[in-house]
Amino acid sequence: MSEVGVDAATGPFGALREQLSGAAEEFAGGPRGLPDILAGLVDDVDRALREELEIFPVCHHSPASALAMARRLREKQPRVIYLELCEDLRPLLDELRNCRLPVALQAFASELDGFPQDQAPLSVVAPITEASAEYQAIAYALETPDVELVLVDRSSDHVFQWQPLDLPDESPARSGEDEEDGALHGDAVGIEIGDLRPGFAELEEHLLRHGKVRHWSEWWDQYVEQPLTGADYDTYRQVMVLIGSLFRRLRPGDDRRLTTDEDRERYMWTRIREHLASSGADPSRCLHVCGAFHASSRVEQFGLRSTAGFDIAPRTATRWQYGLIPSSHSAIEAQFGLAPGSVSVAATTWEKALKRTRVKPFRLAGQRGTRKTAAPKPAAPAPSAPVADRLSGFLSNAPAPDGLDEAELLGWSVDIVRLARRNGYLSSTADAIAVFETSMLLAGLRGRARPTPYDFQDAAITCIEKDAVPGRRDVRRLCEILLGGDRIGQVAYEALPPLAKDVFDRLRPLGLALDKRQIQRALLDFATEPDLEPCSDLLWVLRRLLPDDAVRPIMGSRRLGERPIQESWDLAIGRNQRHLVELGYEGVTVEQVLEQRLRKSVHDPKATAATALEAVEESLLYLRSRRFTNELGARAVELLSSERTVDDAPEVLRRVRRLLTHYRATEPALPRWCEDFVTTGYAHYCTLLPTAFTDDDTGVRQVAAMLGFLVSLESLAISLGCDHTQLELAVKQSHPEDPAKVALLWAAESQLGLRPLADLRRRCDDLLDNPMLVGAFPQYLSGFVQALDAVPSLSPLVVELLSKAFGRLPDTILLPWLPRLITTLKEQAAEMLPVLIGEADRTFPATLPAVDAWTPPWTPSPEPPGSLRAAPTNTAVAALLATHREPVSATAALLGHDPSWPNPADTTATALPPAVASLIRAHPRTAEAAAAILTP
């Protein structure tokens, strides 16, 4: 301050300073700091303008800034441009020419070192629009030979070092109306060049109220943007620094953001001085482009003459990846809390201002979506004029309004009506007239000579919007579309990371324009075009890695053991460019990324054997790398043996069975890890079985799945060296109490031959007969149902028990249990239902009348024991038994039967049923002929 104070009275701003001091005295009753603030404002402007290195203050998305920049660059022809942008983003700028703006520069880190792991991934985006001063500076520097562009702001790493990660991002993100486009930046932290906005809400509210405008963008447009569009460079500079200084001085003192901003200023000036010292550039041929806020900085390090040092902390070891991602006007508005449509309005204003002022903007050669302009003609750099006060004039005059001209407004009025009609509104020419008239009236009421786009928007809403919105878009949205609409940028092939390029290359055989934002339908017929199979493989990997809507199969699936014949896909890769670019940060090909992700998933501390098996399956499906699959499989074995719970047993069983089937069908021998998995699993589950049976936390389904594993894979396990007695012992050691688990145990015992079926049936009958236990019967039955998977031979018994349960259980027990049975069966339909239904089909009659005559096979036969003897027997056997009657009689007596032998004569007489006998009698010739053939 002292330096400024010396020539305060005599400097170019002496008069203004005096005037403001006078004003401060007038408001002597007001806040105490007022005189300081008012005088300080002038000091800040004075200081910034007298700085040896020319400071160009900018504001984001401001056409006036861009215009002034274009003019100044042509005039001054600087050799070095220092730009307020993360210094590590510099290599990306060269790729900008390959993109259609707006795009965002992105720094991305997924593997953190020095930041808490749970914050990953870290992402910074800096959107670049065409109507911005920074783009002008970049285009000038890259297109003009011998001009150096130096980014001087802190690196992406420092962005996070300086922003405590536990605090939310400060950018006032708004929930976008158009979620799809509003979310183009993902959850990245946005950085902008020239963020200029009041630091606290009260000031902004005050400005809006007094400015009689609705939102910040409108205020800015009316009070700064428009008056400055036509202003000369000095006025522009002084006004911008003044505004920056005002917002700076009216900030709460304990503002954490201010501290960060000051650190950034220290950083920038340190870097600038370092560069000047090393390059020996002439400061008078340099330009420092920074936000107006930073131009009014009061840090000690400000200015080339300052010698104050600043220790720049080293970056963390985090590895940052860089790329360009597509951005859009609405995404920028959403990210930085601007009013919807304001960036589009800025773009329109820029185009208009270019036409009117005939300023030739700078554009990168080959920039897509822009018109070509002639390269800047080298003109002799203009000498810098001494600083003169332009502020007094600017502040004392009302802004000269610069709104729409009549023809433009008329055009818009007609267009909005047409657009509204297309969107279902009943609007007509009368509305166009009304919109035009109302816009004029609104502008008059708001003190503008000509209506602004915002007035037009209000007028259109007033005249066209009625009580309901007929279509998908309301008039406000239609106006936004009309006023330039949302522009969505695109990163061209050349600027994409290798992974994305690889994807586009490999999908080329499909013959689709994948960079378009529309959804593309791909039809793959492998019979006629077998060379499309690699495309299909890639699409499946992309399906696994990209968000759901990016790559969507309409027809076709990929499962183990299936071979595709035809597939059809909906591809929206162009719309999901950001995700593809971000994948590119993880690897060079999608396969590599998938491999990394699978490897990461199996080494995650929360990984289980089931997740590892899933990874194995995915690796088989998508990667087809035997080495990698085996590696994942080995990890699955490791995980299984270290697991202490059996929660995942059903999943493990399902997956391992599928994998075994796959290997048996495709490979001559099982891979080593599969054998290990089965033997380890056998031993592991045998060990855990007794505990699982008694542990209350382990469900019946889990135990059933363990038994399923043990029983169904037992033969394989034994062939690989396991011991059957281990399972027998485990079963014998199990003493469950829960009825369902008891039933499971019985089933297991029956499977192992430790319990005969008759015993099992008797026990169940006892349960049904015992009034004390009948209530628990459904639980036993549930256990048996669960056991079906492990012991399919039990299915006749389960059908029998179910039948008995329906027949004999009292309604009070049966009915509450039924829903649970149904839901269990529904949930696990794949495993149990086929067995159960097959058995039921065998047991129950197929037609309704047959049901009446049906006797269940398990009911004791009503026929006398004698009929048993009529059972058809092999005559040779019968003859043998008849000749040696003694052992047979002894055996029969031992078994408790009466050892009486039938009369052979009776047997022949009773052998033919009466109906057959009468038939033979009626047609003797047939029988005789048959006998003649049969008798040799």
Partner: protein, 372 residues
């Protein structure tokens, strides 16, 4: 005292302000407007220091500034103005203020009901006079709308959608041709509207389905939708402003503690949030929970305290007044309130022992118990 009115129209109540504004107004005035559009806005929304007036003009309507601006320019244009919104959002009050500022007469009002006929919009006859003298201009009784046309001022139509569609359609010719013909008369049988005539109609968006406007009529109105005020700060201002006015009208001098006002605003905000998230009509209160409703609750509590209480507003009284005003349907509304009291007010009451929330809790509980 005989000329004192229970409720003076806006032009009488703010006559002094309007006179002053008219005297300093040098802006261009459309038609025969008494004030320029900027002064109308200033009258409705109040003055700022930057307006450079010698005296302060108070804010009379609280809400988004652009609504007022859009309403004013509509009146200056060829179309009628339809203010649409939930009950109690201040539509009629805005209409009254606008007509008072523009024409110094806000009393030319037609109230739309199921019984409104075309006669109420156009004209009717003084039957005895017709019998005595025959049909003539003297025996004709002009409607408020017709009077407004003749005088070139603003006519108002309250609750437009409550009147039947054929009656509404009588407005179509008035709004487009700007005249009413009187076929019963042989000469002097057309009443032309003078410059400055326009119509401000209000419609309740909750009753939209009752008698929907024809598209021909919709086309002749500009719609300005007034939303329910959800900004707590401006809502507090509205409630304070209106309550002060009511107390002045009743000559009550009673202090409304700010904490109680907070409780009221908070409770309404909570109930509104609950209403929005409710899935069926039974789970939400029948009331629209508008700002006017809050004012009603507060007024009721104030009157109760003034005449039956000890002349100080208590949390208990406020609670019982709130329950009394909002419990309209016997099981449903009471159930919602009961849930609100147990789920939301009770924890607050327990935390705020001895404070106003506790009193509010007690008062509400009692009132709910009495009603159930």
């Amino acid at each position: 005292m005989s000329d004192e009115l229970l409720r003076a129209p806006a032009e009488a109540k703010y006559a002094e302000e309007l006179d002053y504004l008219e005297s300093v107004d040098d802006g261009p005035k459309p038609f025969a407007w008494r004030l320029s559009p900027r002064m109308v806005r200033l009258f409705v929304l109040g003055s700022e220091r930057s307006d450079g007036l010698d005296r302060e003009i108070g804010q009379k309507w609280f809400g988004d500034r652009s609504f007022v601006e859009r309403a004013i320019v509509t009146l200056a244009s060829d179309r009628g103005l339809l203010l649409i919104g939930d009950p109690g959002t201040g539509k009629s009050w805005l209409a009254e203020l606008l007509s008072a500022a523009i024409s110094r007469d806000s009393t030319l009002v037609v109230q739309g009901t199921a019984g409104t006929t075309e006669d109420h919009i156009k004209y009717s006859w003084n039957v005895s006079m017709v019998i005595a003298k025959g049909q003539s201009r003297e025996s004709l009784i002009p409607s408020p709308i017709m009077t407004a046309m003749e005088r070139g001022v603003i006519g108002r139509f309250e609750e437009l959608t409550r009147s039947t569609s054929d009656v509404q359609d009588a407005l179509i010719s008035i709004l487009s041709e700007k005249y009413v013909s009187i076929p019963e008369l042989d000469d002097d049988n057309i009443v032309f509207a003078k410059p400055g005539f326009s119509i401000i109609a209000t419609a309740n968006s909750r009753d939209r389905g009752v008698n929907d406007l024809s598209s021909a009529l919709k086309r002749r109105f500009n719609f300005v939708r007034i939303p329910v005020v959800t900004n707590k700060k401006s809502e507090a201002e509205i409630v304070r402003f209106r309550t002060a006015e009511l107390m002045r009208r009743h000559s009550i001098e009673l202090d409304v503690p700010p904490t109680l006002l907070d409780i009221l605003l908070q409770s309404f905000a909570d109930l509104r949030a609950a209403s929005t998230s409710a899935t069926s009509d039974d789970e939400k209160l029948e009331s629209a929970l508008s700002t006017a409703e809050q004012i009603g609750v507060l007024e009721d509590a104030i009157l109760h305290s003034q005449f039956f209480g000890d002349r100080a507003l208590k949390a208990e009284t406020l609670a019982s007044s709130l329950v009394g005003s909002l419990a309209r349907r016997s099981p449903e509304d009471l159930a919602v309130l009961n849930k609100f009291w147990h789920g939301v007010v009770e924890p607050r009451g327990r935390k705020d022992e001895g404070g106003p929330w506790e009193g509010f809790l007690e008062g509400g509980r009692e009132a709910i118990a009495k009603l159930s």
